[in-house]
Amino acid sequence: MSDQNWPLWEVFIRTRNGLSHRHVGSVHAVDATMALHAARDTYTRRGEGLSVWVVPSASITASDPADKDMMFEPTASKIYRHPTFYEIPDEVGHM
């Protein structure tokens, strides 16, 4: 029983205020409290963070890399969404 697989948690750390939390790795833990402790011990031994999130890995829904063309292609073809698509005379200056 002791050797049954413990749930996997993904770890996110905010390195300092003003930055968003960033994925750093994962830990195994029986519950959220233990996952937080394990994440602190594993990923913040040298002041790497001010805030830690742990999320059950099973709760993450991810896009399939095989679908990446279907998912993300439209952003490439809609060039009119970018500011450089529009011509502004040089005399107008920086805009």
Binding site: M1, S2, D3, Q4, N5, W6, L8, V24, G25, S26, V27, H28, V30, D31, M34, D41, T42, R45, R46, A62, D64, P65, A66
Partner: protein, 333 residues
């Protein structure tokens, strides 16, 4: 540290490979794109990487044993604090690496089981004993120094999670090597007995450290696929030469002598030439017949068995808290 896994033949039957998919994969690797966990990849790439990262993780964990041996006997509080922090880092490195390997679909428990059953290997270097305090200095200076040589190119490995784990590991290894070299300086500038202790440690460890880089290129037929997949960026002999060139002047600064009469500086190539490595010894140690192989495995198995109650207690405690939390709303009604 420890790319020795890339030198062993993969025995698993090769899954039916799709030449078109393999070519697409190789094109991505050639374009220096990083491969991420859910991406399509050839089965052989997945297997090779899983074995490599797991062996690397096992090496970090087993590597805690020779150093842990000296925590209670460190010569000062400063050295003891540093050694404790270093051994804790090695455990952390093992954890980063297991996490990276798990993204390829093998659970940490499976990898742990393979280590304890002897099916998986760890770096040959940890089958040598730490007889004196000077060995702790040598491990930091040379063993971690060799590890850094090996791990810096791994930060650019084609597999994203492994490369990212290596970036974290490399930042911490620098502390390990510097604290080891500082121990060596203290001994080399100490009493004649301390200097002799430093020299004897160098004599014991120099050749096994050179073996860490794996067999010579002419005998290492598996380097080719690891290089093609950009798991490995330099061959065993290239890394070994870089290490020797960087390390010999550091040893001379300490006033120590390397146990190799053939060690000479070649002014034409600007490299240090070194003598013949005893590959028969390397093969013996990898096959399980080094000075400490049996002791290390015994310690690992004992640790796993002795800690079973902690895992059971944590699981039971989590279950109890969950049940209480579930019972709460009912009690409140």
């Amino acid at each position: 540290m420890y790319t020795q896994a890339l030198n062993t033949q993969d025995q698993a039957p090769s899954a039916a490979s799709d030449p078109l998919a393999d070519a697409r994969f190789q094109a991505r690797v050639d374009a220096e794109e990083r491969i991420e966990p859910n991406d399509a990849m050839p089965e052989a790439y997945r297997r090779t990487l899983t074995r490599q990262i797991a062996q690397h993780a096992h090496s970090e964990i087993v590597g805690m044993l020779p150093e842990g041996n000296w925590i209670t006997r460190a010569p000062s509080l400063k050295r003891k604090a540093a050694l404790l922090a270093k051994v804790q880092d090695e455990g952390g490195h093992g954890a980063y690496l297991y996490a990276a390997a798990e993204t390829l679909g093998t659970s940490r428990e499976q990898m742990e089981e393979q280590l304890l059953s002897g099916a998986a290997k760890y770096s040959s270097i940890f089958n040598y004993p730490t007889l004196t305090w000077a060995d702790i200095g040598i491990i930091g200076w040379l063993v971690d120094g060799a590890a850094i040589m090996n791990q810096i190119p791994l930060c650019r490995c084609s597999y994203g999670p492994y490369a990212r784990a290596m970036v974290r590991v490399c930042k911490e290894e620098s502390f390990h090597q510097r604290q080891g070299y500082e121990i060596m300086i203290a001994l080399a500038r100490g009493t004649p007995a301390q200097k002799q202790m430093a020299q004897e440690a160098l004599d014991r460890w120099w050749w096994p450290v050179l073996m860490m880089f794996g067999p010579p290129d002419k005998d290492s037929q598996h380097t080719e696929s690891a290089m093609r997949w950009k798991i490995k960026r330099f061959t065993n002999d290239e890394l070994r030469q870089k290490f020797v060139d960087a390390t010999v002047p550091q040893g001379h600064f300490l006033g120590l002598t390397f146990p190799d009469p053939a060690l000479t500086f070649d002014a034409a190539t600007q490299h240090w030439n070194y003598g013949e490595i005893d590959w028969a010894e390397f093969k013996r140690v990898v096959a399980g017949d080094g000075p400490c192989n049996r002791q290390r495995m015994k310690q690992m198995r004992a640790k796993h068995a002795d800690n079973a109650w902690v895992r059971e207690a944590a699981t039971a405690f989590a279950r109890k808290r969950r049940q209480r939390a579930e019972a709460m709303p009912i009690a409140a009604e």
